[in-house]
């Protein structure tokens, strides 16, 4: 059992290694009670507004998308990323350039499409920085 969990997480880690863009973000992943939690350290090159300073909206969007991808890959034990159809992000608060987390849950998964809801937070999970609706096509 523990080994199959590790195996499923390996797919997520392989996903990061196979995506240089995720490495540029410095993305990491861990699993806590079947939930994949992805994170980035708020490195200076991830900043979008140097005056605030704030994380780039594209970094926030990318991490939400990755959280959803990682959860789909983990839940279904996939060997490659499914095709991202679209993502719709609501920015609720400014993201500071600090450690940032994101996780996603499956709203509905059918045979062909997975509909996900992702959220992103920093110091406190209840203080949501951004949320997103994410859809994947699975039968590629």
């Amino acid at each position: 059992m523990a080994q199959s969990l590790q195996n499923k997480l390996d797919h997520v880690h392989r996903l990061i290694k196979a995506n240089p863009y995720l490495e540029l973000l410095g993305a990491e992943a861990e699993v806590i009670e079947e939930e994949v939690i992805v994170s980035v350290f708020g490195a200076p090159h991830l900043v979008g507004n140097i005056n605030l300073p704030a994380l780039h909206g594209g970094v926030i969007g990318s991490l939400l998308g990755f959280a959803a991808t990682a959860q789909v890959v983990y839940t279904n034990n996939l060997h490659a990323s499914p095709r991202l159809v679209n993502i719709d992000i609501d920015y609720l608060r400014t993201g500071k350039p600090i450690k940032t987390f994101a996780a996603a849950k499956v709203v509905r998964q059918g045979r062909r499409v997975a509909n996900m809801r992702a959220e992103l937070w920093q110091a406190e999970r209840t203080r949501t920085i951004a949320v997103a609706r994410v859809q994947f096509l699975l039968d590629q």
Partner: protein, 162 residues
Amino acid sequence: MLPSLELTASLNWVIKSMSMFLKSLKELPPFGEALGMILEEQDQGAGVAVLLPGHGRVSSSDQGGIFHSGAILATIDNTAGWCIRDHEDYIEGTSMATLDLRVDFLTSAALSETLRVRAICDGFDGSLAFVRATAEVVASGVLVATGQATFMLGTPNNPANV
């Protein structure tokens, strides 16, 4: 009547300083630099255009060496913001916050290509701006992604208030 040589010279000076001013408006944020975005300053089309050349750092190689969706999304977000600052009614210094951004990924694009992201501001008033954007392959014109974003203007530029 032709303008005098002196007037032409001073007009040129005004245009030159204005374009320098516009350029400073569009300084790349650190993440734009990290991705290798390039503002297309000579672009004659509508709105604002930004190029994203294919490169390892924007790639998703487990899907066969294509642009990562996140890199396309980030470029659309950046270009959308710039297109508001480029709007004729935008007052320099007004702060801006993205309320939402939706991106549809129509097809994938090979890393050997360069993408052009174009953002056009459809609605602009003192409080809100509405932008739509496209990402296409420069060489073929193939549409790769479309986006739509809403921005709030004039929010306090202070994280303590957000």
